[in-house]
């Protein structure tokens, strides 16, 4: 199964505040990189218990409503209704054609029409999966996309003029404009699941199956009915609607506590039939409870290890666990607020952002704050996660390696009196190339407030290190911590449209975790003007053009052009991006390499080995 994280955008919301916690200085014990292999003869059967931390799913339907942002719902539903395009192929971030529902996807010459041929797979009740199921899912979304949690303004299905189904296995999707096929396949169609029209096209539990979806009003009624059913946790495991699946598993048990269990879908048509007889997700209230359980040698088979506990790895290995590092598909950053008038003059000049970036000792932070389990943060694309996306600039360490001397030189060259471990002041106001810059008066101190999400010792250590290293060039950072949700609630997106918004005046720089990527890490939404996750309001016509080229153009070099430009222009200050450390029973095979979009969960390919049984 793949687990993309469109909903789970901010690290602390789902992962980092719970997964990244206390750690002390020094190197952690070495772990695998997701490629270790368990040897032994494959066994059929067995139960795997996966530890969940903190949150639990609360909705069961492949298209949750816009008011539900619980990212764990994807984890629950993806094994039942995989998406048309399966993201992640082994450890690669590419599309997995074997596991995807389509056998071919052809784009017209103008990149406006997609012809999709579906594989001759079947639903769990034996009914073939056809183009009618595609049309059914499309019709529901088309009529209700404003209430669809995964809808991104302007994209699917709003950008579809019509869907044709010339035969049972062929779908033709006519788009309103040309797209880069790679972008559209990776970032859009990885969110679209087919739905069983023969079982779900009705407006009440006792109603008859019809073709209600073919009119907008009918589609709204069907949508409302399915949404209502999808919210009833007490019937998740028993509702006949949810018994019709096309994924490798069926839901056998569900408790409102977050405990749930999969059993194999015996009619699964995909290439990898589950070998396990049961997969259980069991909730843990806290990292400590999870660690105690792992150490006491109980039945938890798979878990994500809190980074604060990496020193427990030898003890866990003695308890029969293997360990693998799983890079996070995202980018961590310090976010500058370009629209707070109090600080905008000090974040808009590129040279100031460059100076700050030169002063962030990312290598040291990786080792000291994250015990070695983090991407170095060389630029907008993490080098540990998507090797095919890395430009030579990023591979070489990015444009701004730690270099206090260069930072000091930049500041002096722009009219600042540098006071190491003090506070710099502007001595040459003005807008010339050697002046401080627009809006910066003589004597203005070079100081910022860094708002950060509390709750993670790793973040605390990282930010303390940044305060210290920025101080070497006289850039004064003061820290202000807030609980993650308070931070999110009080800091809205700041850009030309929102300005003046009250939520833009309360923060200057912000550090809250990471932004997750879709399959194609092209920065759309993050760095383009008015992008939905461009919280700080960075705006550059050149960046917009380069991102557009990755979405709508067809040049294969467009991505690297964008990537290098973003790395150099610093719409954000790049920070190390914490990885996940994954522990699993030594006799459980198939766990690695882990899918970068799954948060490591692909139980359909897991199996126990005989040697260890």
């Amino acid at each position: 199964m793949r687990r993309t994280q469109r909903l789970v955008m901010t690290a602390a919301g789902l992962g980092l505040t719970t997964l990244v916690a206390a750690c002390a200085a020094g190197h952690g014990p070495s772990v695998g990189s997701g490629n270790s292999q368990t040897t032994g003869q494959k066994m059929q059967g067995g139960t795997v218990t996966i530890a969940e931390n903190g949150y639990s799913p609360n909705f069961l339907f492949p298209a949750p409503p816009a008011t539900n942002s619980n990212g764990y719902n994807i984890v629950l539903s993806e094994g039942l209704w995989p998406t048309l395009v399966y993201a992640g192929d082994g450890a690669s971030t590419g599309v997995n054609p074997k596991e995807s529902l389509y056998s071919s996807m052809t784009w017209s010459d103008d990149d406006k029409v997609i012809t999709i041929v579906l594989k001759p797979w079947k639903w769990s009740d034996g009914v073939p999966i056809t183009s009618r199921d595609f049309a059914f899912a499309y019709n529901l979304l088309k009529a209700n996309y404003n209430d669809w949690a995964y809808y991104v303004t302007g994209l699917f299905p709003a950008d579809v003029t019509k869907v044709l189904t010339p035969n049972a296995h062929t779908v033709i999707v006519d788009l309103t404009r040309s797209y880069n096929p790679e972008f559209y396949t990776d970032d859009v169609l990885t969110y679209f699941s087919l739905m069983p029209q023969h079982a779900w096209d009705k407006t009440s539990m006792t109603g008859k199956i019809g073709n209600y979806d073919e009119t907008p009003s009918g589609a709204k009624k069907v949508w409302n009915f399915l949404q209502q059913q999808g919210g009833q946790e007490s019937t998740f495991a028993t509702n006949p609607l949810w018994k019709v699946v096309d994924g490798p598993f069926k839901l056998a048990e569900f408790e409102s506590s977050g405990y749930y269990a999969y059993v194999p879908n015996k009619n699964y048509s995909g290439p990898t039939k589950p070998a396990l007889s049961k997969v259980i997700w069991t909730p843990f209230t806290d990292d400590e409870a999870l660690m105690d359980t792992l150490r006491s040698g109980t039945s938890v088979s798979v878990a994500i290890l809190p980074l604060s506990d990496v020193r427990q790895i030898p003890a866990l290995e003695a308890e029969g666990y293997s360990v693998a590092q799983v890079p996070t598909a995202g980018v961590a950053e310090i976010l500058p607020n370009f629209w707070n008038p109090a600080i905008a003059p000090l974040v808009r000049p590129l040279y100031l952002r460059q100076a700050m970036q030169y002063l962030i000792n990312r290598k040291q932070i990786v080792q000291k704050a994250f015990n070695g389990y983090a991407d170095p943060g060389n630029g907008p694309v993490p080098v540990l996660y998507g090797k095919q996306w890395d430009s030579s600039l990023e591979k070489a360490g990015g444009p701004y390696p730690y270099d206090p001397a260069k930072a000091i030189a930049l500041l002096k060259a722009h009219g600042w009196k540098v006071v190491p471990n003090g506070t710099d002041t502007c001595v040459r106001p003005g807008t010339g190339p050697t002046d401080c810059g627009a809006g910066i008066a003589a004597g203005r101190p070079l100081q910022y407030q860094l708002l950060f999400a509390t709750g993670s010792t790793s973040f605390d250590e990282q930010n303390a290190a940044i305060v210290s290293s920025e101080g070497q060039a006289g850039i004064k950072f003061t820290l202000k911590g807030e609980p993650f949700n308070t931070l999110v609630a009080t800091t809205g997106t700041c850009n030309a449209q929102s300005h003046p918004a009250s939520t833009c005046y309360d923060w200057q720089l912000q550090q809250y975790g990471y932004n997750s990527y879709l399959a194609d890490p092209n920065g759309a939404g993050m760095f383009n003007t008015d992008g939905i996750t461009n919280y700080g309001g960075y705006s550059s016509p050149e960046m917009d053009k380069l991102i557009d080229a990755t979405e709508y153009g067809s040049s294969s070099s467009a991505f690297f052009a964008y990537e290098d430009y973003a790395a150099e222009q610093l719409p954000l200050l790049w920070l190390p991006d914490a990885s996940q450390v994954f522990v699993y029973k030594k006799n459980l095979a198939g766990v690695t390499p882990t899918n970068p979009f799954d948060a490591t969960y692909n139980p359909e390919v897991w199996y126990y080995t005989k040697s260890a049984s």
């Binding site: 619980n70 303004t153 609630a489 009080t490 809205g492």
Partner: protein, 318 residues
Amino acid sequence: MTWYLVRRIGQSIAVVIGVMILTFILVHFEPGSTARAVLGQKASPARIALFDNTYGLNRSLPVQFWLYCDNVLHGNFGISYVYGQPVSTLIAQRLPRDAVLLGLSTLLALLIGVPMGLYQAIHHGTLRDDVVAGTWFTLYSAPDFMEALLLIAIFCVHFQWLQAAFPGGITSVGGLFADPSAMVLPVVVLSINSVAGFSQYMRSSAIEELAQDYIRTARAKGLRERLILTRHLLRNALLPIVTILGLSLPNIVAGAVIAEAIFNFPGMGLLFWSSALQHDFPVLLGATLIIGVATVVGNLLADITYGVLDPRIRHAIA
């Protein structure tokens, strides 16, 4: 007595209404947008507007409060923004489990603390008194999370005799006992602090009672010491304990965050904590109301029990 009860119940209702108003105002002073806290930074203005409309957050505060009160009076505490479930369901799932866990730990603490306090009172001023007091004060002063981790290290990790945590998926009280070994440490850890409290209150009270004339009279009449202690002293010395028990009722309802976190026990404490962090107002309001009710009921029960145990008080209020 009846009039006293009516008056006390009336006061209790007024307190609960006050708690409702105060809590409602306070939670709405929490900074920032609820919709943004729940949906995340990526939420578009349209999604935020939809959320606010769905949950009535775009209405004025007095209207929201009026609707909240109306719903509560009809047994509806609202829907959790985060869990997407009725608040009453979330509380109903957790409250009985907390009541059992904290009830058992309180019972254990009473069973140890009361005799311990009596023992200390009888041996007041001796080395035995000092040893017992010293032992319990040492345990009392140690943080409960440290005691929990220590006991887990010994009994779960080293000897592997007990379960370190409750298995996931417990949804009923019966589920707590599916593996009784998982109950042992949480009950023990939660009772340790209470034992010290109960024993010291009991000790002080018993020392005071032992100096009373009725004890001297009983002894002078030749009554056996055991009968004096159990029949005369115990009943009178228990009065302070009744007060503590009454006041501990809200604790039983509110859960124990640290113990819940360490022992994987999804109870009211963690629900309340996570709801506060996530701006989940309906849950916060529902849980606060329940705790407020438990507080006034606990006090009421303590007052009534006082009257039952001590005829002087009963006659005074009559």
